[in-house]
């Protein structure tokens, strides 16, 4: 029983990180209708940014997150403004191809500049736990989970309450009308992609504190984010949280009771099952 509870706790904590990874992907997908295949590479860059700030400048990894986020925001804004805005009206295949190209370029630049060595972000408190009843809650993962919750809520509030957020929602719900009421689509798109990249940057920094990083982590993380975005639905950030938590728990349970090698079988199996049962996502409206 304690074992099961422990697995559930780990699963929820893992799921919080998953949700944050997927949030940026879902935002960009929902607003720009771009499935950003370079999302995982942006997460990877966020992880390296945090690692460099920690090992090079001795900045605490959690304090380094805003810097990583700001750098990734700038990179994302430039990618959208300079490249993706040129093809956004084209067929979806073009954006898939171009974001895939960006993913390849970023991955191999990372290999060239950062080498293929495995890195970890290992602050002094990395191994510390909090014992709660018979359960162990690792500090780092709990903090990562808290940051994820705050950011997701902030994102939701931003979309609902601010002028720019409303412009983003207007552009995603009816682009033609939004333009005619004065919303500049290119600026809104660049801001949205920048935000998506910033979220990836934070997710990357947190990922680096709980897992090893190397230049090749991007691809699998894109796939995972994609699964979560679909499971959660693109309608609202709460769906993405639900999707992340769900996947985290399912993977943890599978790893314990079936075997760690079956984790991906479980996650992609869930994707197929959910697409059959609720094509709009867990919290999404079904057609």
């Amino acid at each position: 029983m304690v074992l099961l509870l422990q697995v559930l706790v780990s699963g929820v904590l893992l799921g919080g990180l998953y949700a944050l990874m997927a949030l940026g992907l879902a935002l960009v997908w929902g607003v720009l209708n771009i499935v950003n295949l370079s999302h995982g590479a942006l997460i990877m860059l966020g992880a390296y940014a945090t690692w460099f700030l920690y090992t090079g400048a001795h900045i605490d990894p959690f304090a380094a997150l805003p810097i990583a986020a700001a750098s990734l925001f700038a990179l994302g804004y430039i990618i959208q403004r300079g490249i993706l805005n040129l093809v956004i009206r084209g067929p979806m295949f073009n954006t898939l191809l171009i974001t895939f190209g960006i993913e390849v370029i970023l991955t191999y630049l990372a290999q060239l500049w950062f080498s293929a060595d495995f890195r970890t972000i290992n602050p002094s408190y990395a191994g510390s736990n909090h014992a709660l009843g018979g359960l162990t809650v690792p500090y780092v993962q709990a903090l990562a989970f808290a940051i994820d919750s705050v950011l997701t809520t902030a994102m939701w509030m931003f979309l609902l309450r601010t002028r720019t957020g409303r412009g983003i929602r207007a552009a995603s719900q009816n682009l033609v009308a939004a333009r005619l009421y004065g919303v500049d689509p290119k600026r809104i798109y660049a801001l949205t992609f920048g935000l998506g990249a910033a979220l990836a940057g934070v997710a990357g920094g947190l990922y680096g504190t709980v897992s090893q990083i190397n230049p090749y982590i991007g691809g699998p993380l894109t796939a995972k984010s994609f699964v979560i975005a679909i499971i959660g639905g693109l309608d609202n950030p709460l769906g993405v949280i639900a999707g992340g938590l769900f996947l985290g728990v399912v993977e943890s349970l599978t790893a314990l009771y079936v075997g760690p090698t079956y984790r991906d079988v479980a996650s992609f199996g869930m994707l197929v099952l959910i697409l059959i049962a609720r094509p709009g996502g867990l919290l999404g409206r079904t057609a």
Partner: protein, 244 residues
């Protein structure tokens, strides 16, 4: 009276089809200009060119003394050109109030920076068109006539200087049409110039200071309501449609 909008020689072709051919028209500041014509005459295409949804193949368009040709639609909105759609385009996932506040937040001069003031502005415009009690509903839950009202309120919330109304009365009943006619008159009294596309003749005759008629994409006549509706070319254009 000075002109707020001057179109000269506007032409729009869709592949082989000439939708609008060499149309020149002036809209004076503070007037209501009626645009009529049989279905497929090119009325909506003309309005699309004015607000930047479509670029003309030829001709020029001058708004308040400067050419707006080539300016993207959102920039024209910032200059003060607002419009409603014949086929309504609400933001489906937002409340009625949020819908109208988009006009206020991003409209003329880039819109209102403060959410609170934009919401007030939107609320006023919604009350003006009679949607005051529906502000909390989701836009996609509204019925047809209320969606028409929302289109009008959202365009008004932009604080436009020129308002393009594309069949705001289609689908409304007699009482509702009377209400909208009164609303539009009040809008004009605020100093907003208006171009009205309408099939409801009563609306055209009671609203328009002048009328112009498009037929097969060309302007066939322009003048006061009485003159235009008696013009044999106009009668023929409309009877030709009826014979079909």
């Amino acid at each position: 009276m000075e002109n707020i909008l001057e179109a000269s020689g506007l032409t729009k072709r869709f592949h082989g089809l000439v939708a609008v051919h060499d149309v020149s028209v002036q809209l004076r500041r503070g007037e209501i200009l009626g645009l009529i014509g049989p279905n497929g005459a090119g009325k909506t295409t003309l309005v699309d060119m004015v607000n930047g949804t479509l670029e003309p193949n030829a001709g020029d368009l001058v708004f308040e003394g400067r050419s707006v040709r080539g300016l993207p639609a959102y920039r024209r909105a910032h200059l003060g050109i607002g419009r409603t759609f014949q086929i309504m385009k609400p933001f489906p996932g937002m409340s009625v109030l949020e819908n109208a506040s988009i006009g206020a937040l991003f409209g003329t001069n880039g819109g209102e920076r403060s959410i609170g003031r934009a919401r007030e502005q939107a609320r006023e415009c919604l009350a003006f068109v009679g949607l005051g009690r529906r502000i909390a509903q989701r836009a996609d839950a509204l019925g047809g006539p209320d969606r028409k009202r929302l289109e009008l309120a959202r365009a008004l919330a932009m604080r436009p200087r020129l308002l393009l109304l594309d069949e705001v009365m289609a689908g409304l009943n007699h009482v509702e049409i009377e209400e909208v006619i009164e609303d539009i008159k009040k809008v004009r009294d605020q100093g907003i110039s208006i171009l009205v596309i309408e099939h409801v003749m009563k609306a055209i005759t009671s609203l328009s200071d002048r009328v112009f008629v498009l037929h097969h994409g060309e302007k066939i006549v322009e003048g006061s309501c009485g003159e235009v509706l008696r013009d044999p070319r106009v009668v023929e254009a409309y009877l030709g449609r009826r014979r079909r």
